[in-house]
């Protein structure tokens, strides 16, 4: 039987409450947008398989409650992520200011080689804009991250940003993933019990699987 995917890894959506993390995820995995939806309490996740550079990548995307106090619960999942979306809402200056706090938490709790990109969501709400696109770009430059303004509502840059982060993770792990397409078993970077993932580019990493 053919492999259903070549590699499996985990991405994480972080950002203040109400910036649209769940909507980004629904748009990406199910191409749906529900103006009427409920707040996320705790953690949730969805899966999707995409193909990047001929590699079938199964991504597990974790959605987290944005309120600060849930971080005691969600932080333990940071270190198991290979890629992180830092999300703010272009109509909320406060959520933009908080990106710095989210980024420093990531530095503290996520593995060293974790890939990050910055997302300014709700780009369709131009009339409510509080954060200029230039501010997003500047912050992304400071952190050395890619940046997208997205809209889950109008489906702007959703696929692009998810694909980009996936590419970055693949690049960061290219050594471990070498020869993947020829391998018989998929590489699994996202086992929940794989607590001690070697950082990207670690010399001792086995060929394609850390199971």
């Amino acid at each position: 039987m053919a492999k259903q995917y070549d590699v499996l890894f985990r991405l994480l959506l972080l950002g203040d409450s109400g910036v649209g993390k769940t909507c980004l995820l629904c748009r990406f995995t199910d191409n749906e947008f529900h103006p009427a939806h409920i707040s996320t309490i705790g953690v949730d996740f969805k899966m999707k398989t995409i193909e990047v550079d001929g590699i079938k990548v199964r991504i597990q995307i974790w959605d987290t409650a944005g309120q600060e106090r849930y971080q005691t619960i969600t932080k333990q999942y940071y270190r198991r992520a290979q890629g992180i979306f830092l999300v703010y809402d272009i109509s909320s200056e406060r959520s933009y200011q908080h990106v710095m706090k989210w980024a420093s938490d990531v530095d503290e709790y996520a593995p060293d080689g974790v890939q990050k990109i910055l997302i300014g969501n709700k780009a369709d709400e131009e009339h409510k804009r509080q954060v200029a696109k230039e501010q997003g770009l500047q912050l992304a430059r400071e952190y050395g991250m890619d940046f997208y303004e997205t809209s889950a509502c109008s489906n702007l840059n959703i696929k692009e940003s998810f694909t980009r982060l996936t590419e970055l993770v693949l690049q960061a792990h290219r050594k471990e993933l070498a020869g993947l397409r020829a391998a018989a078993a998929p590489a699994d970077l996202a086992r929940l019990d794989e607590d001690e993932l070697p950082p990207a580019g670690a010399e001792e990493a086995p060929k394609a699987c850390w199971c």
Partner: protein, 296 residues
Amino acid sequence: MERGGSCRGFSREMEVPLEVLRQRESKWLDMLNNWDKWMAKKHKKIRLRCQKGIPPSLRGRAWQYLSGSKVKLEQNVGKFDELDLLPGDPKWLDVIERDLHRQFPFHEMFVSRGGHGQQDLFRVLKAYTLYRPEEGYCQAQAPIAAVLLMHMPAEQAFWCLVQICEKYLPGYYSEKLEAIQLDGQILFSLLHKVSPVAYKHLSKQKIDPILYMTEWFMCAFSRTLPWSSVLRVWDMFFCEGVKIIFRVGLVLLKHTLGSSDKLKSCQGQYETMERLRALSPKIMQETFLVQEVRRW
């Protein structure tokens, strides 16, 4: 209609015959009118009647009596109005406002932005942050308050929320969320006894309780179960407390992952989590669920 079991047990909604309903209403009226006597002498009977389901017309009142929020209000006349007039800390107001339209968005009370339901929800949640500034607002309080508002006015809902946060689920919503994490561990060790198969499977898959029980417990199943079941669970919860939440959790886990047959189609982590997120309607159906919960 259903394999094995009786049709009635799996029917979509339990219709209580009108005559029975009238009888229950008069029994409940008698209880509510002589509450202290009933509580002191016939608590078992109250419990049984809560298990059978509180008549909808009296549910809001009964919850206030059961939770002690009625007494709390009487001891604090004017307090809610006082809190209601205060502006509140912008730090909390921002988070609360972002949540108002994200609670039961299909319920007629909460459907319109800025409508009465959402306004009352704001007032109740804001008042709580002023009542317990050291705790502030926790996002899981919003669905709890919303369910209460479906049954009683804002002031009554506020005191009922206070009772839930302080007496029923203490520590669930406070800063470090320690109580909910601890209860996750307790649930898991209870599962070991109740359903060793489910316990073993979840252990093997390394699925932490926090992944599936956070929303269940923090929202007292209000976002998980079909509506008629939510109400029945809350009737029992107000009478018997948090153990009802544990029992419901255990029933759901046991009937979802409790046999090798059930596990066949959820071998992996992801499949298991998916299964726990999309529970079978059969096991959430009110009659079945209440019957299972009462077995303890």
